[in-house]
Each structure stands twice: as C-alpha cells, then as structure tokens.
C-alpha cells in the first residue's frame, strides 16, 4: 500500500493528540508514515507507533529556525525520499495557521490539490481522497475530492477518535534538507515562551469553558468551573481585546476553532464570528443574563441568569458529583 505522510505536531518529542488523529485518518488511505521535524524522536517513537506509524522520516531541527517555507521544503524533500509524489497516497498536516501555509506551499510545489480544515478524510470511491469541511460558521458541510496530483489535506483537531493499534516503534529514516536562500530569509530570531496554565490545550480539550464580556474581567468563576470539569478555558474576542485573557485562548474566526464534547459559553452573546469557532461542538451550554442572546439559539441547555451566581453553584454541584 502507498504511504500517507503525516506531519507530526510535537513539543520536544511530546506528540500532540492531533497527530494520533491524523495517523488514524492516514490508515484509511494507506500506510501511515510520520514526518518528524526536530529533536526528540526517541520520546515520540512509542506514541507514533501506538497510533499506527509504520515508517518515520526525521528532518533536522534547523528547519524550525525558519518560518513556513523551510518546512514546506522539508516536506518536499521527504516526498522525494519516499519515492516521489506518485508513489504516495496523501499528505496530512495539522490545521494550524502555520500548518495550512506549509500545506499550501507544498501543494503548489507538487502541482497538487489542497484541502484545508477537513473534519473528515476518507478514501474516495474509485480512488483518491475525499474530505468534508464545515463552511460559513459551521452552517454547511462541504464534501470535496482532490482531482490533481498528490492530495495535500490539513485536518482540524478533534475530528476523529484516535484508534490505537498494536504497532512497535520503527527506526527513523533521516532525510537531509537543503534549504533555499528564500526559506532562510525569514528567520525566527526569538521565541518568548508563554506561561503554562496547567489546563488542557484549548483545541484538544474534551471540554471548554469560555468567558466573554459578561465576566467583566473576572475569570475566576469561569476558571473554577473549568477546573472542576478538567476543562480548557476559552475567551471571546471582547474579553481578549479588553486584556482580560490571552489572545491564544480566543475562540472564534480569528482565534481557535474548537470542537469539544462540551462547550460552556459564559457571558458570551454568540456573535457569528464567535460561533465560527465553536459551532461544531457536540454539546453547547450557555449562561447569559439576557434571554434574547443569540447564543441560546445554539445551546442544548441554557441558563438565563447571572454567571456570578450560576457558575459557583454549578462548580459546587459538579464537585459533589465527582467526590
């Protein structure tokens, strides 16, 4: 069977959940083959094998010193090392801002079709790759197929339940990459690490509790409820713009797109741009003191009330059930 390249998302070898999801999709199309950029493969080998990687290509860490183009060139080098575009079934990349740009430049280099933000990936009838995407803030589902070249697909997190298989770690095939001058022209000169919250990653979390302008700057009740549920904390743009919560926690069109089992919107009105980031959540709960707030149109369960009264009670009740 042809290989399916999966670009691994990891921090120093700690593989993110989105990678196991991509490997699971890859297995539907062919032999999952992981592409690991940087150091730390030894730490990653176990979990890549657990989710089905039957081959691994490693790329030197130097690639991470540069922005998008270097990574597209690295992937192109791996495609060559793996036998060329016609020998492969697909390339799957995580749907982050950078992932989409890498995928686009790779697809252009390979003269191949590109799908971004897929929520499903499967073998098409009669060969090739078929995908589904959500469009217009989740109001529509678009089914597409790639009609040219090696399909390059970026996949949204939480789109599939990762399927463990009993695979054994494989030896990596190192691939050398000669970066172009253009790739080296855009250099990451500094990385300022962000404080860790200790909470789950927003895009991977099974539960997200978000606060908006209604928190009036006090996220403590939102955080307390999130912690009792083991949830990630999100924020509306109004809350982020007011400086109440970091931009990396923003949910919506210009923030993160999340698709958790449960999304709890607290003091958020439900503007179309916010919906764009959370409308595909499986269950939606809203707390808002305005019964007319549009967020209630989406909610499976809504409480019309003051979040400063409702959340502490909910936190206590949830703690009792967990005890």
């Amino acid at each position: 069977m042809a290989q399916v390249l999966v670009l691994v998302d990891h921090v120093d070898g700690a593989v993110r959940k989105s990678t196991s999801e991509l490997l699971t999709f890859a297995a539907r199309l062919g032999e999952p083959a992981a592409v690991f950029v940087g150091d730390g493969y030894d730490n990653a080998a176990g979990s890549l094998a657990e989710f089905g990687a039957t081959a691994v290509y490693t790329v030197p860490a130097e690639v991470n010193d540069y922005l998008v183009l270097a990574k597209a060139e690295a992937l192109a080098a791996v495609v060559e090392a793996a036998g060329g575009a016609s020998a492969l079934a697909a390339v799957l990349v995580p749907s982050s801002a950078e992932g989409k740009e890498i995928a686009a430049r790779l697809a252009l280099k390979l003269d191949s079709g590109l799908i971004t933000d897929a929520i499903d990936v499967r073998a098409a009838d009669g060969g090739g790759v078929a995908t589904s995407q959500a469009a217009f803030a989740g109001g529509f589902t678009v089914d597409s197929t790639v009609t040219r070249g090696l399909p390059v697909v970026t996949v949204k997190p939480n789109s599939v339940e990762p399927q463990p298989v009993a695979g054994a770690p494989v030896d990596a095939t190192p691939v050398s990459v000669t970066l172009s001058d253009l790739a080296k022209a855009v250099k990451v000169v500094e990385r300022k690490p962000k404080a860790k919250s200790g909470r789950p990653d927003l895009t991977e979390a099974a539960i997200v509790v978000s606060g908006g302008r209604g928190t009036n700057g006090d996220f403590s009740k939102v955080e307390a409820f999130a912690d009792v549920l083991g949830a990630a904390v999100g924020a509306s743009r109004a809350a982020v713009d007011s400086g109440w919560y970091p931009h990396s926690n923003q949910v919506g069109q210009t923030g993160k797109q999340v698709s958790p089992q449960l999304y709890v919107a607290c003091g958020i009105s439900g503007a179309i741009q916010h919906r764009a980031g959370m409308q595909t959540s499986k269950t939606i709960v809203a707390i808002n003191k305005d019964a007319e707030a549009p967020i209630f149109e989406l909610a499976d369960f809504g409480v019309v009330g003051d979040l400063f009264a409702v959340l502490p009670q909910a936190t206590d009740e949830a703690a009792k059930r967990k005890a």
Partner: protein, 263 residues
C-alpha cells in the same frame, strides 16, 4: 516606501451567506463589503506610509464588478491608488488561481512591501498570502500581531511578532517581503468625510486576465485542483432547553450535564 495591499470583497457575515448552484460562494445575490480583516492590512499600510515620507499605498483586488466597492473603501481610508482585476473567467477560482492572478497584478507595480489580511472572512483558507509570496519569490512573513520596519535602503528589514501556541515568535526578514497582519495589530480607522471626497479623484486601474498575460484556462472553476461533490446545509440544532435561574440554575445545569454523562 512603496506599499501594496491586497483586499478582498466578501459577502457580509451578518447577512444571509449561501452557495450558488455550482457550489461556489454566492457573491451576486448578497450584500458585500471590504473584508473586515483586510481593514487591518489597509490600516497598517497607511501607518507605514505616514511614518515614511513619500510613500505610496496601492490596493489590489481580484473579484467581480462589485469588488470595486472594496477598493473604494480602502481609498476612502487613505490609500492612494487601486488596481482591480475583473474577468468573467475568474468565477470560481480557488486559492491557487487567485494567488496567480494577484501575483501577476502585483508584479505590474513597484513595491517594497506587500501587506495582506490574515484570512478572507468568506470561504477563506488563510493561504493566499503564502501562495502570493511563493509566486513572487518574496520572503513570507505572515500572521504579524505587531510589525516594525528597521533601517532603510537595502539594509532595511521587517520584524514581526507572531502569536504561537507555546510561544510568541519574533521573526525577521529583509525587504521586499510579503506580510500578512492579524486583527491584533491595530485599530482600523473609519473613512473621514474628507477621505470620502478625496477618494473620488483617486486613480483605479481595471485589468483583465489578457492584460496580465494569464490564460483563462488557468483560472476559474474548471481549473480548480479540487472539486466539490456536494454541499449540505447542516440541520439546525434541535431547540435546547432554556431555564431561568431562580437560585437553582447552577444545580440544573449540572443535572443536565450528568444526564448527558458529561460530568
């Protein structure tokens, strides 16, 4: 500094957005406007221009007749000139074709920086900037949350901050470069009355594919490298339960979660 800004005319997100029968975004039957996310690009270009005497800001758009509204809005904000590529053959173009035509149009101009928005607010994939950089052979400096130009002349470079998941990245590149900006970067201005009047006299060049030497077969729906097999409207979410808090709202909420096995 010679600054080019890419702006797109998009259906209004507040309005009724839909797909046409050929599965392309329906641009004809709905209200459109300058993509809100491109206002940040225009604003950043104007700031660069104001900080560097003798600068010019030229906006470029690829789109149907109505897209001239987006150009006009940017001119009203303060841009100096516009280029509008309009051609029936462009209908249904994907990001590859759009980037090809944009790059050809930009190549007719002289520039030190090309500024774009972070995404189209319609069916945006957030990849056009990367593809335009590729086609123009420019360094790609995307998703700038802040931006500064250091030095001038041949040694000038652009320094941006880019918001990543685990860190904020500081990224540097020589000029000319393509820069995309996020909605964190500035607060776009509103056109002033004076700006609106002045815009009427600003030059807008209209170009066709033939003017750019692009073959009609390279763009449009037929040239797309993917095909849409179907579009389905999601069933509206079933109406949920809404309760009014009477001192028991938190408890009821948790009861619901317990019933759904979520707690």
């Amino acid at each position: 500094m010679r600054i080019v800004v890419c702006v797109k005319h998009v259906p209004d997100a507040q309005g009724d957005r839909r797909f046409a029968a050929d599965h392309t975004v329906d641009r004809a039957g709905v209200d459109g406007l300058l993509s809100e996310l491109d206002e940040y690009a225009v604003e950043e270009a104007l700031k660069l221009s104001e900080a560097n005497d003798g600068s010019t800001v030229t906006v470029v758009t690829v789109g149907p007749d109505a897209a001239s509204d987006a150009v006009r809005k940017a001119l009203q904000m303060g841009a100096d000139a516009g280029v509008h590529v309009v051609d029936d053959a462009l209908h249904g173009s994907d990001a590859f074709a759009t980037s090809l035509v944009l790059a050809k149009a930009i190549a007719t101009l002289e520039y030190d920086v090309v500024v774009t928005g972070m995404a189209s607010t319609d069916a945006g994939m957030s990849v056009v900037p990367a593809l335009v950089a590729d086609r123009l052979g420019l360094p790609q400096v995307t998703f700038a949350g802040s931006l500064s130009i250091e030095g001038d002349g041949p040694g000038a470079k652009v320094v941006i901050e880019r918001d990543g998941d685990t860190s904020t990245e500081v990224v540097e590149s020589a000029l000319p470069a393509l820069i995309s900006v996020t909605d964190q970067i500035n607060e776009p201005r509103y056109p002033s009355f004076k700006g609106i009047m002045a815009a009427k006299k600003k030059p807008v060049t209209t170009l066709t594919l033939a003017d750019l030497g692009v073959d009609a077969g390279e763009v449009g729906l037929g040239a797309a490298w993917t095909t849409v097999a179907g579009v389905t409207q999601r069933p509206p979410r079933a109406a949920g339960t809404v309760v009014t808090d009477e001192g028991d709202g938190g408890a009821k909420l948790v009861e619901f979660l317990a019933g759904a096995k979520l707690v």
